[in-house]
């Protein structure tokens, strides 16, 4: 079975981010999207610890302990950047001012419920950070994840079995097998990896899928 590489997934997400967008890239896989943003677009990255206009990692030796991203890694501030406190930063998120955020996930449900903050394991120490604010705040919430778990179980589910981060909040899912929109009518497949078919993708996913733009049979 063909799969999109992580780089291909990141490049695919980057293609959908328009010129002028304010964007928050979550920790992990979504961070890779920054490396693929088209050079001819001006896209402003937000990091919730208090920076708009975040630039790439500094040169070795030029790190600054007071200039970090949400993952606490050293970053840079681009010309035009601004700093602000946490209440303002989360107002940008909760208040719907970000055009887009890209998040990782354990599971996404057919209604767009997101689970990405807690495995629910009894011995796990819970930590949530800004996940719940990002999930419900941005105008478009994109999830980037492997389609299947390491055990081959689908991560697109009827109902999340992990504790949810937000309800009905995900707009689009980018996986290593497909790009899928979550619509009021259900899951609409926009693209599939070469060689994949809708019946095969449906079988792997275990949830109803239709091709985008094709009306489901009554």
């Amino acid at each position: 079975m063909n799969r999109y590489t992580r780089e291909q997934m990141a490049a695919r997400v980057a293609r959908d981010i328009p010129n002028g967008a304010y964007v928050n890239l979550g920790i992990g896989l979504p961070t890779m999207v920054a490396n693929h943003l088209p050079k001819d677009r001006e896209i402003i990255l937000h990091t919730e610890n208090g920076l708009l206009g975040m630039g790439p990692a500094p040169e070795p030796g030029a790190e600054d302990v007071d200039l970090i991203n949400a993952g606490k890694q050293p970053v840079t501030a681009l010309p035009g950047a601004s700093f602000f406190h946490h209440a303002d930063s989360f107002a940008m998120m909760r208040g719907g001012h970000l055009d887009c955020c890209v998040l990782g996930a354990f599971q996404v449900s057919v209604r767009g419920d997101l689970a990405n903050w807690h495995t629910g394991a009894k011995d796990a120490i819970p930590a949530v950070g800004g996940a719940m604010d990002l999930a419900i705040g941005a105008k478009s919430v994109y999830v980037m994840m492997e389609h299947l778990t390491k055990k081959g179980e689908t991560k697109i589910v009827d109902n999340c079995t992990y504790p949810v981060t937000g309800l009905a909040c995900v707009n689009r899912i980018y996986t290593d097998l497909a790009v899928i929109d979550i619509t009021p009518q259900g899951l609409a497949v926009i693209e599939m990896v070469d060689g994949m078919t809708l019946p095969e993708l449906s079988r792997l996913s275990g949830v109803p899928l239709v091709m985008a733009g094709v009306r489901a049979a009554a």
Partner: protein, 233 residues
């Protein structure tokens, strides 16, 4: 003459009592007022409630305060990090209480306290474990959760420069919780890298007006530290 400058970190925290609720600024170590925390450890008040985004990194700063067994409860959004082993051990042993709050709710609850807001409805966390048992309401077709302010007896924050009136400016992403915590505590103590004259801070650029700050202590920058990549937010 108003003079909020105190001579040392020890003098600045000398009246923090047992059982106090203390906000501590910083996101990870950026903006963490380490010298004020060290002074607090030396003073040694017990049964503290601490409000911070995290629960300490490594063995210094907030982690050292936890290790000294001075903290009964921590209110934070992201305790678990690659180097939060001090908190992890206390939590697993049942020696510390954790109130986990989504980061934006944490910030807004602190802001609300400083702004005199009685409570507020937020969409963040609705339908999740972290909103269980809380009052909810549908407003304009959207679901919200009722959240209450977080107030503190003291706030320990770090800024770049301050003056004797308590006006503060910060440095880059070290600003994070400083301005909102300053407004939410009865007594806010700021450690600044440099104390400057009243005329030296541009009124247009002051981030925290001095009305929110009770004490300012100068702690010159130590050796330049290199940022340590940690775990997530």
């Amino acid at each position: 003459m108003i003079d909020k400058i105190v001579p040392s970190a020890a003098a600045a925290v000398a009246d923090i009592p047992d059982g106090a609720t203390v906000m501590i600024g910083g996101f990870g170590t950026a903006g963490m007022p380490s010298e004020l925390i060290d002074a607090l450890i030396v003073r040694g008040p017990r049964e503290l409630t601490i409000v911070n985004n995290n629960a300490g990194n490594g063995d210094t700063g907030l982690a050292a305060l936890l290790k000294a067994k001075l903290v009964r409860k921590i209110i934070c959004s992201f305790p678990r990090q690659t180097d939060s082993y001090v908190f992890d051990a206390l939590y697993r042993a049942g020696d510390i209480e954790l109130e986990l709050v989504p980061q934006g709710n944490l910030a807004e609850r602190i802001r609300a306290a400083g702004a005199g807001i009685g409570a507020f409805f937020t969409p963040t966390g609705f339908g999740t474990l972290l909103a269980e048992g809380k009052e909810t309401r549908v407003i304009d077709g959207r679901n919200y959760v009722l959240e209450y302010p977080i107030r503190a007896d003291f706030a320990l924050i770090k800024a770049l420069r301050g003056d004797r009136w308590g006006n503060l400016v910060y440095r880059k992403t070290a600003r994070n919780f400083g301005p909102i915590m300053a407004s939410a505590a009865k007594c806010t103590i700021a450690q600044v890298r440099e104390i400057v004259n009243l005329v030296d801070l541009d009124p247009e650029a002051v981030v925290t007006p001095g009305i929110f700050v009770k004490r300012v202590v100068e702690v010159p920058a130590a050796v330049k530290l290199v940022a340590q990549p940690g775990a997530a937010a």
